[in-house]
Amino acid sequence: MVQVRDAKTADSVARPGQSEPEQVTPEKIPEGIALEINGESYAHTGDPAMPLLWYLRDVLRLTGTKYADAAGTGGFDRVLVNGKPVSAITQPMSSLAGKRVVTVEGLSLEDGRLHKLQQAFVDVDAIGCGYCIPGWLISASALLARHGKPSPSDDDINELPNFCRCGRQTQIRQAIKRAGGADA
């Protein structure tokens, strides 16, 4: 498994003042499944049947996406693939060539500030044990992107397939509405 940054990124990390090597052997274009995760380029050269969940967790050690079950029931393993929320365990790597994946680690803004949903979950203390929260954030981020303002209605929120074993749905609902701009 090779992590590849695109040429532009590679250029930008070259130190200024460093002398150019006399001969540059162009790097071989890596084989494998190229995809983008949280804005970074990756190429998966392992088993194409491997679900995205294990690629994220075992290979990249992006462990914010949690295991739910073999079908993603309850949504702990939700990620955005080209903006659509899906269960990472249901997505074989072979289906992800050229796709853009966003995990909970990629929700925060580039300057490190929290996404408005993340901030709302913190503000209303929609946490509990916290294990299901990344999945809710991903599902809700797609909902907000779809709705923008006005904030999602209770019926919209009811469409989310996510579980919370701690029963913090009162606070979760409140946080989603708050992030959508409602006073809730």
Partner: protein, 769 residues
């Protein structure tokens, strides 16, 4: 399961608070639980805080004040979502007048040192999710903060050459005469050199609390929403192998045949390990059932290896058991089929409580009311499945364990490795739910045995199927209720008979005490009715059982609070009136085992939910209104629930919960606990049941042991907290569970005229309608 520390005990502990000077001018205050602990021993204790990057300190302590003013506070009890990692440190921070904004909370992991070969628990008792963390900490940990504050004040007094009594302390600053100010950081070095007083320093008076009673968000919130919080399931040593298990579907079955070849042909599958429960070991301390583990270089490879295994299991002696047969047996036991026959009456296994003369009261009966309530087997279904990370080295074991009870986990590791107490390190990061499941350490035994077999570090991972089907379940139960009503419509006598399979079997508990996990001698209406009898009938079942959050009160409350509603209905009475009359004048009724039932506090929470939901419309509204109240160990709760029924759709329109748990440490955390327990209990009550057929659990994950999704739950839970700050705090994690099911069933009855006496509620409601 509930250990309570008495104030005396806490006082003696405070005498032995420790002060250590760290490097770079840090003040460290610790609380060794053993009486003779010496500083040298404490300082050589393992460093639980590798992430600090500061090898100078052995933080055998709860509080550390650094020269830069930052304050580290250790959270000793595992946080499974109960909020103790926030509440416990705030108790300490308040006593020391720390600036909460400068406090960092550290999960302490297990604190253990060697006391002549026996473990000495560095931080005292460490257990989470049993409703006791806060009451115990209230007695034990406040002195830690008070001593830190005292030392800092003495340091400032010495520097300014004024008596400490002239100094004030607030938000991490000491203020002296003429408005001079010093922050804690600049005083830490000097404070660390001051000898602590022989007598415990006085604690704050409650009027001076600044953090206790104020709302605070979860200390881990930002890490959780950014995906940075590493649960054990996220922990992975670089050279660790991943183990995935298949358990025998019969807990007492065995492996008949195995073909490992196809699995081992997969590149990256390293080894197949067979596991068996060790004979003679109590449940929860050894493997839960015979199992085969596939050990591989990654989770994906281990899962593929598992799929390639060819296994045949042999059923054991329990292969004919079923939950249906157990239910029928329970019904037969409690209904006493001997009545009207020549058969001798079935004797209860235990007479849990017997007051007055129930039989004699029967002679004055104007009316008798009977009902039987049936509740299913239940699983814990934690969000984070069972898992464990273990690294065994020569003379050392390092484990990362999602446990509620690290000291119990230590026992298992020690037995299986033979290591000395201090050679076993157990880290406990945030835990994805516990509910009592993680008081059992079968998965720790599995991980250690697998790591031994492969001689490499191992991350054990249970799939959801394994997690739901291989649990220490709550036994199903049958309650038979019998009320004797007098001529003036007074409740003359109450007789309840319960049958279940005790979760204390094989756990070293004498036979005549097995009822203790199943039924509480104090559960309502005990103490309120002159003639009262409570009997328990033990059943035998092979399926593993263990403690569950809220049990046995959840069982008792569904039966008793449904039955009171039925009595009210039979007597054509407002169920609120029936309950209030039963509670009577505010008074203290002694509880078995200590403490009292304060009927006034119970009546108060009942009144609060009635007002909030506008109970006056109970008879007239198209929707159904239901209520229930309960008490556990000095904490009081009531629920009022409003439902509507359209076709086959039940909608929970409103849910109101009022609780009085004594002093409130963190109102925001408490609100989350109350609302959370309400929705978690609704989810279970509506749908959840484990069924056993031919000795096997039929549910194989969340497909068939499901949790409620948003539309099945009310949009919000309205919570009312009675701030009873003159009383010590009690636990909050269990209190809101028991009243949900009866309030719901009572509301459903008003909405549909269908009385649901068997859970889960939805299938039974649809069957009866």
């Amino acid at each position: 399961m509930k250990a309570r520390s008495t104030p005396d005990n806490a006082l003696s502990r405070r005498r032995f608070l420790q002060v250590l000077a760290g490097g770079a001018g840090a003040l460290i205050v610790g609380i060794p639980s053993a009486r003779a602990a010496d500083a040298a021993n404490a300082a050589s204790a393992p460093i639980p805080l590798a992430w600090l990057g500061d090898p100078l300190f052995a933080l055998d302590a709860f509080v550390r004040v650094d020269a830069d003013g930052s304050v580290l506070i250790g959270a000793r009890d595992p946080d499974t979502g109960t909020g103790v990692a926030t509440a416990l440190p705030r108790i300490i921070a308040d006593e020391m007048d720390a600036d909460w904004g400068k406090v960092k909370v550290v999960a302490l992991g297990l604190g253990v040192s060697n006391n002549n070969g026996k473990p000495r628990w560095t931080y005292g008792r460490q257990i989470g999710g049993t409703g006791t963390s806060i009451p115990v900490a209230w007695n034990e940990l406040r002195g830690v903060g008070a001593l830190a504050r005292w030392l800092l004040l003495q340091a400032a007094a010495a520097q300014w050459k004024v008596p400490a009594s002239q100094l004030r302390c607030a938000a991490g600053m000491v203020t002296g005469p003429n408005g001079k100010r010093l922050d804690f950081g600049s005083l830490a070095k000097a404070a660390a050199k001051i000898k602590p007083p022989a007598k415990p320093v006085p604690l704050k008076t409650p009027d001076r609390f600044t953090l206790i009673g104020q709302p605070a968000g979860d200390v881990d919130a930002t890490d959780i929403v950014t995906g940075r919080t590493a649960y054990v399931i996220d922990h992975h040593d670089a050279d660790a192998l991943v183990a995935v298990l298949v358990h025998c579907p019969w807990p007492d079955g065995s492996l008949k045949s195995i073909d490992t070849e196809p699995a081992l042909k997969i590149k990256g599958v390293v080894k197949i390990v067979q596991l068996k429960p060790e004979p003679g070991q109590p449940p929860g301390q050894t493997v839960i059932a015979p199992a085969v583990a596939v050990v591989a270089e990654s989770t994906w490879l281990a899962l593929q290896g598992r799929d390639a295994l060819k296994l045949e299991w042999e059923p054991g002696p329990s292969a004919s058991q079923s939950s249906a047969a157990l239910e029928q047996q329970g019904r037969d036991l409690v209904s006493d089929k001997s009545q009207g026959t020549d058969q001798p009456p079935v004797q209860p296994t235990a007479r849990v409580r017997d007051e007055g003369d129930v039989d004699a009261a029967g002679k004055q009966a104007a009316r008798r009311i009977d009902a039987t309530y049936v509740q299913p087997w239940l699983a814990h279904a934690c969000a984070e499945t069972m898992n464990c990370s273990v690294r065994l080295e020569k003379n050392r074991a390092v484990l990362v364990v999602p446990t509620q009870a690290p000291q119990a986990a230590w026992q298992v590791v020690q037995r299986l490795t033979g290591l000395k107490p201090e050679q076993i390190e157990i880290q406990v990061p945030r835990v994805g739910g516990g509910y009592g499941r993680r008081l059992q350490h079968d998965f720790v035994a599995e991980a250690v045995l697998i790591a031994k077999a492969v001689n490499k570090p191992v991350s054990l991972f249970w799939t959801r199927e394994q997690d739901v089907a291989h649990d220490y379940f709550t036994s199903g139960c049958v309650y038979d209720m019998h009320a004797i009503i007098g001529r003036k419509r007074e409740l003359l006598a109450w007789r309840q008979r319960m049958a279940s399979a005790s979760s204390l079997v094989n756990r070293g508990v004498p036979d005549d005490q097995l009822w203790r996990s199943e039924i509480s001698p104090n559960q309502l209406p005990a103490g309120l009715i002159e003639n009262f009898r409570s009997d328990w009938f033990g059943q035998t079942a092979a399926m593993p059982r263990g403690p569950m959050r809220g049990m046995p009160d959840v069982h008792g409350a569904f039966a008793a609070e449904s039955f009171i509603d039925e009595i009210a209905h039979q007597m054509r009475e407002n169920p609120l009136d029936t309950r209030q009359r039963l509670l009577g004048e505010p008074r203290q009724i002694p509880l078995v085992g200590g403490g009292t039932l304060d009927t006034g506090r119970l009546a108060n929470v009942l009144k609060l939910v009635a007002e909030r939901i506008d109970w006056s419309r109970w008879l007239h509204t198209v929707n159904g209104l239901g209520m229930a109240c309960w008490h556990i160990d000095g904490a009081y709760v009531a629920h009022a629930i409003e439902v509507s029924m359209t076709g086959k759709e039940l909608t929970v329109v409103r849910a109101v919960c009022a609780a009085d748990i004594g002093r409130v440490i963190n109102p925001l955390g408490l609100e989350g606990q109350l609302a959370g327990a309400t929705l978690a209990a609704l989810s279970t009550t509506l749908h959840a049941a484990i069924t056993i057929k031919k000795g096997q659990v039929q549910q194989q994950g969340w497909k068939d042991y499901t949790l409620a999704t948003m539309p099945q739950l009310p949009n919000k839970v309205e919570t009312i907290v009675v701030a009873d700050n003159d009383r010590p705090p009690t636990g909050a994690s269990l209190i809101a569970l028991p009243t949900v099911a009866p309030a719901l069933a009572n509301a459903v009855f008003r909405a549909t005229a269908v009385r649901v006496r068997r859970l889960p509620l939805m299938p039974e409601l649809l069957r009866l309608r």
